[in-house]
């Protein structure tokens, strides 16, 4: 280094310090000359810090060795040295980038005072130092530099609450750093050195009570700075009150530095790792529970920050424990790095947005509902934070959970998943507030220029980029996997175009993409690809009926449909889960676009995430058992098979709106856009069926122990069918009726799959296709009706057969196909399922299946009666038939129903062929008749006979009508107790149609499930209240908790035994 040149120095990591300090010292002078020059110097220095970090990290990634920076020309441990390795480089680059972006956000405030500029600069340098230094005492100094700069920046705001919070912050952190200093000095006492590497090398010297207490002091001092529960009230108060510029830097930057400091010292932690993990887990879980009850935007972000750091701590401690057994260095980088970058950019971005929106309560965020761009940014940040694809958090959580699973740490897995779910709950609750559009006159326009949200946008891009890099490292970054997102992005670019014809490029994109993705599939996957992609396209054509712009609809739809395609081609559980989450996310967003979609979409998302996490847990158990991510190796999981099957099946069942978990379904289906409801019910719900079939194939059949969970599954299915039908009976809302009907029909399919027999599966798949057809028709018809009447309540319609004969005919045929009345398709499915049930000896389920299909008649008839028949409302006399573009897909589906009804073999042969590899074929054909152990089914003949017996009276009646000249009568020309009614409302029997049925067995469907889930919500709020009781706002209480935290650590780790 003696021959170093200036450029070498400037590009050297040391340059970060030189630049920051040099610029920092000179800023006051520049400021005296000209404020602008000071700002320029400040920005240049920050940019150079980013550049230097980036340059060196790039070098290291490309094979350069980690850079050791020695000072004073003396070798360590006798001098202080710094290190810039892969991990340090990554963190420094990320923090500096976030700081630079944050500076953009914070500049309007920062530039008011030159000292604020230099404090900010030196604060960032302090974080860099914390990350890079390898000297324990030097670490202390960097901590203090960071802390003091933070204090001062917090104090820049003048309001009493900020100052109070800042003072509490100082008191708490100064006690923490006192602990750290005490520990440091005693470690020096025992080891005679301050160099961290040297200390670790001479770890055996740290012994006895002094060593124990010293280590505890050092670790606790740092851990407290990470704001562990419950010693973190001081942090929350600052997050709540301080300006977002500094709060974001504390949340992401300072925490990052502290976190990495703990990471460096972990080798010393030894037995303390357990308690560190415990504290991390506790903090993650509890902050997320408390977050549920929080309305203040910035405090909410505070809870989220603390939770995320808790998760990072937990991950780090657990991995460190594992690291001592096996080498997991690379996974560690991936997990900790991924979680870290994810938190860094997402949380900083949210803080910045919070700074722009300036609404202290999350309820006030509806002011951005009209600012689509900001709403998008908000959504992306939350998505990233929750760990949904395609963001780094997703990959990191995946790796973490898989790693934990392979070491049988399932308790921690459940904690992580539960915490993540809670976090999603409060974040997306906030998002739903932000989406609620307010009336225009109330719209307080927020003064945000185009450039102000730019740092947030850049953070989003960086998140995407990091995610792709991580995916590449994990070797899953195939273009195919990312195709949905790419297509969505491409369509988003043209989303600004007005009008409905944006649908056409979407259809083309999905058709081409879907073909490319699914062309190589075979067997069950191939069948589902026809259903999901082909069917999806068919139903999506109908979207052309909407003339408005539908911002965001088409890109999201493309993502949804293509993610279904990637789901089908997934080979590994990771790809499967990635696509699954993507599908969940895109469908959630699509639901939010509906009329009052935000709230039901939230419960949809939460249940979907709950289901996704169950699936995740299932895959984790499988990975723990087999050590392989391949879906095809699920079957090798030995004893854990029952567990895996139960978890995965539970996940899919929730997604399909299974009994007890159905409460999200009616609201979500009802409030989504009408054509999208059709897609949701007819296509998207089949993804759950697909998942169920796949796991049943991989797990259920190949094992001998798969039977019991399958029986349970069969019961769940049939209970879902029964209660779905029962609840549909009492609905007044057209779409809610159809939603419950979907739930019920999917219940049969679940039972069919649960049968685990060839016939059972054929019936399930057949019913799947059938459900797609009739539910597609029904919901598209409903879309047409709602379009024309502007009404969803059925009793406010009536007599529409005269206006909408095609819609009526299609609906009627679909209903016959659904009901199972011969000769249409429904009969075949019911017949096969009944045979399979009898074959299996599941008589009770068979009886319930009978019962529920009888109940289904009630709501089906009601739909026809109250909407199309009876008395027509006066205001509906002029209505037109539904638009042709809605009718065309229905017509195609009707044709399919007819063909399959007459020649079911056309469908059953490929179904059977797809199932054959899993279960030996048991279908016996005698000519056109299918024969089972019990009975026979000759579809063409039935079709013929029914057609015949139907034609005969028809012809007879036609003849009569020719001879007698049938006369049409006026609307009210009926025999009505000797009076002639005048208004349709008095005459149309529609409201509370099955009142007597309600009186008889309505008690069965009182909303018990809803009450149950409400109790859960209440309970979690009560828990949150009792958990946050420590945060009483008193600085001394907070300080007491800091001290107590140390004492507790001491006692927990057996300090009394010293």
């Amino acid at each position: 280094m003696v021959t170093a040149t200036i450029t070498d120095l400037l590009l050297h990591p040391l340059g970060i310090y030189v630049l920051a300090l040099g610029a920092g010292f000179l800023i006051p002078l520049f400021d005296r000359a000209h404020r602008g020059s000071a700002i320029l110097v400040f920005l240049l220095a920050l940019a150079c810090m980013v550049g230097i970090a980036g340059f060196n990290l790039f070098g290291i990634i490309n094979g350069a060795t980690a850079i050791d920076i020695e000072t004073a020309g003396i070798k360590p441990p006798f001098s202080i040295n710094l290190r810039f390795g892969l991990l340090e480089g990554g963190i420094v680059l990320a923090v500096n980038t976030a700081a630079l972006l944050g500076a953009w956000h914070y500049l309007p405030r920062l530039k008011e005072h030159a000292s604020a500029l230099l404090l900010y600069l030196i604060l960032v340098m302090g974080i860099n130092g914390m990350v890079m230094t390898r000297d324990l005492f030097n670490l202390f100094i960097f901590i203090e530099i960071t802390s003091i700069a933070t204090y001062a920046l917090i104090g820049m705001e003048r309001s009493g609450s900020v100052l109070a919070a800042g003072f509490k912050y100082i008191v708490a952190t100064s006690i923490a750093s006192a602990f750290f200093l005490l520990g440091t000095i005693f470690i020096y006492y025992q080891t005679g050195t301050l160099n961290i590497d040297d200390i670790i090398a001479n770890q055996e010297l740290i012994s006895g009570p002094i060593g124990f207490i010293a280590t505890l002091f050092v670790l606790t001092g740092l851990l407290i700075e990470l704001k562990p529960y419950p010693a973190n009230g001081w942090g929350l108060d600052v997050y709540e009150t301080a300006s977002t510029g500094i709060a974001s830097l504390i949340s992401v930057g300072v925490s990052a530095g502290m976190f990495f400091a703990v990471y460096k010292l972990l080798p010393l932690a030894g037995d303390f790792l357990h308690s560190i993990a415990f504290i991390g887990g506790l903090t993650f879980l509890f902050s997320n529970i408390i977050g549920l009850k929080q309305d203040n935007t910035k405090r909410l972000l505070g809870y989220s920050s603390i939770g995320q750091i808790g998760l990072l701590t937990l991950a780090m401690a657990l991995l460190a424990q594992l690291d001592s057994q096996v080498d997991i260095q690379s996974q560690m980088y991936l997990i900790v790095g991924g979680l870290f970058v994810n938190h860094l950019f997402a949380k900083a971005g949210l803080f910045w947005l919070a700074g722009l929106v300036k609404s202290s309560s999350i309820r006030g965020w509806s002011v951005i509902s009209k600012r689509r761009g900001m709403l998008l940014l908000l959504g992306i940040m939350m998505t990233a934070l929750v760990g949904l694809p395609p963001f780094p958090g997703f990959w990191a959580k995946w790796e973490l959970v898989m790693l934990l699973a392979s070491n049988d740490m399932f308790g921690w897995i459940s904690l992580i998943l539960l915490g993540s779910l809670l976090e999603a709950a409060y974040l997306f609750r906030w998002f739903s507030y932000a989406q609620q559009s307010v009336a225009d006159d109330e719209q307080a326009e927020i003064p945000v220029s185009f450039w102000q949200p730019l740092p947030v946008a850049i953070a989003v891009l960086l998140l995407f980029a990091t995610s792709y890099v991580m995916a590449a490292v994990m070797q899953v970054a195939s273009p195919e996997l990312y195709l949905p997102l790419v297509a969505g992005f491409a369509l988003w670019l043209i989303d600004g175009v007005h009008g409905r014809y944006k649908n056409l490029p979407m259809l083309v994109a999905v058709a081409i993409g879907g073909y490319l993705l699914t062309k190589d599939l075979d067997g069950i996957n191939s069948l589902f690809s026809y259903l999901l992609i082909g069917g999806g396209l068919l139903v999506s054509i109908a979207a052309l009926y909407r003339k408005d712009d539908r911002k965001g609809f088409y890109p999201l739809l493309a993502v949804l449909l293509l993610s279904l395609a990637t789901l089908l081609r997934a080979q590994s559980s990771l790809e499967f889960f990635f696509s699954w989450e993507l599908m969940t996310l895109s469908s959630y967003l699509l639901i939010t676009l509906g009329r009052d979609g935000a709230k039901p979409a939230l419960s949809y998302l939460l249940f979907s995430l709950g289901s996704a996490y169950l699936i995740f847990a299932g895959f984790a158990v499988a990975y723990g058992a087999t050590g392989s991510l391949l879906l095809s190796s699920l079957g090798n999981s030995g004893e854990s098979m029952t567990m895996i099957f139960s978890l995965l099946a539970a996940g899919f069942i929730i997604k399909m709106g299974g009994f007890g978990f159905h409460i999200w379904l009616p609201d979500a289906y009802a409030e989504a856009d009408d054509d999208f409801t059709a897609l949701l019910s007819s296509v998207v719900s089949k993804a759950g069926v697909f998942g169920l079939v796949i796991i049943a194939a991989q797990l259920g059949v190949r094992s001998d122990i798969g039977l019991d969970p399958a029986y349970v599954l069969g019961w769940i299915g049939i209970l879902t069918a029964t209660f779905g039908a029962l609840m549909a009976v009492f609905q007044e809302d057209l779409k809610r009726l159809l939603a419950y009907s979907s739930m019920g029909q999917l219940g049969y399919i679940v039972t069919g799959v649960a049968l685990m027999s060839h016939l059972g599966w054929v019936s399930a798949m057949y019913m799947t296709v059938n459900h797609f057809l009739f539910k597609g028709i029904l919901l598209l018809s409903a879309a047409g009706i709602i379009l024309r009447t502007n009404q969803r309540l059925m009793y406010k319609m009536g007599g529409l057969i005269k206006n909408m004969p095609f819609t009526f005919t299609f609906t009627m045929i679909a209903i016959i196909a659904m009901s199972g009345v011969p000769p249409l398709t429904g009969y075949g499915g019911k017949w096969m399922m009944f045979n399979a049930l009898m074959d299996k000896g599941w008589y009770w389920i068979a009886a319930l299946a009978f019962f529920s299909s009888a109940i289904a008649f009630l709501y089906m008839f009601r739909l026809l009666q109250t909407v199309f028949l009876g008395q027509r409302k006066l205001e509906h006399h002029e209505l037109r038939e539904a638009p042709a573009i809605l009718l065309i897909p229905q017509g195609v589906m009707i044709a399919c129903i007819m063909v399959v009804s007459a020649y079911p073999k056309l469908l059953l042969d490929p179904l059977s062929a797809a199932i054959d590899p899993w279960i030996a074929n048991t279908l016996v054909w005698e000519g056109t008749a299918m024969v089972t152990n019990f009975g026979y089914w000759n579809a063409p003949m039935i079709m013929g006979v029914v057609g015949g017996v139907w034609m005969v009276p028809l012809i007879l009646l036609l003849l009569i009508s020719l001879t007698l000249k049938i006369q049409k009568v006026e609307q009210f020309n009926i025999v009505f107790a000797a009076e002639r009614p005048r208004r349709p409302e008095e005459t149309h029997y529609a409201y509370n149609f099955f009142a007597h049925y309600d009186r008889a067995i309505g008690f069965l469907v009182r909303p018990r499930a809803t009450a149950f889930w409400n109790t859960i919500v209440e309970w979690s709020h009560t828990t949150a209240s009792s958990l946050r009781i420590f945060y009483n706002g008193n600085g001394q209480t907070y300080a007491l908790f800091v001290v107590m935290y140390f004492v507790a650590m001491f006692l927990l780790n057996g300090g009394l035994a010293l």
Partner: protein, 247 residues
């Protein structure tokens, strides 16, 4: 009350922990590894008789740079916090009753002639002593911080004795900035001319034990002393009357 008991319980437990430390403490009879190296090699390597100075300025030079930074930012921070806000500034209306109360409290009683004269006599000597302490930091007990503190105590003295006296902000700012910046420059020179960042051997080590020896240590201590002295003075000054101007 419960909280009080709790606090005492916690403190009692802390005392117990501390007792553990004390009970197991034995006084060192030999130097630690680091101490041994510095005592053994220090004088030859760096040419500074005062080992603490050698450690402070060179071996742990980065600490010292950090320390200077801490002082710098706390001075800046105090300045930022105590800046005088303009009236009617939107961010905190009505929160400034304190200001007004202070203004109406009246002016200080002027100092007596004896105090004034003594101040004028003593102040240069205090400053000179401070300079002496930091310039001899590598030879005898003392150094930049100590010297700087002495200079600042002179300022304190001045402010106490003559509260109305004027201290040039500009001078403080320039000295502060330039000495800090020079320190960094000297540190960087170490990279080019000697073994590394903050290496004091960029200049000749000179005669062991003489004033201009031990390489750049006296130079560094000069900057540190000035910087510390002026920064502490600035802090004191800012507490005296809230700042209006730039720091």
């Amino acid at each position: 009350m419960i909280k009080r008991i709790f606090i005492f319980a916690m403190l009692a437990l802390m005392a117990m922990i501390f007792f553990n430390l004390v009970a197991n403490y034995t006084e060192n009879t030999t130097l630690s590894k680091l101490g041994h190296y510095y005592a053994d090699k220090g004088p030859q390597e760096l040419g500074a008789p005062n080992l603490v100075t050698a450690v402070v300025v060179t071996y742990r030079g980065l600490d010292t740079l950090g320390e200077v930074t801490v002082l710098f930012i706390s001075a800046a921070g105090v300045g930022l916090l105590l800046r005088r806000t303009r009236r009617n500034q939107d961010d905190d209306k009505g929160l400034e009753q304190g200001d007004r109360a202070e203004e109406t409290a009246g002016v200080h009683k002027p100092a007596s002639e004896i105090v004034e004269t003594a101040t004028e006599l003593l102040l240069p000597m205090v400053v000179l002593f401070g300079v002496y302490v930091f310039m001899n930091g590598h030879l005898s007990p003392g150094g930049g911080f100590q010297g700087g503190a002495i200079i600042a105590s002179g300022t304190m003295f001045l402010l106490l004795a003559l509260p109305e006296s004027h201290i040039s902000r500009l001078m403080i700012a320039i000295t502060e900035s330039m000495s800090g910046f020079s320190y960094v420059v000297v540190g960087v020179l170490g990279v080019f001319l000697a073994g590394g960042f903050l290496d004091n051997r960029i200049m000749d080590l000179g005669t062991y034990g003489s004033l201009f020896s031990a390489g750049a240590i006296p130079l560094i201590y000069l900057f540190v002393g000035l910087k510390v002295g002026f920064e502490l003075s600035a802090v004191l000054d800012r507490f005296r009357k809230e700042d209006t101007g730039p720091v």
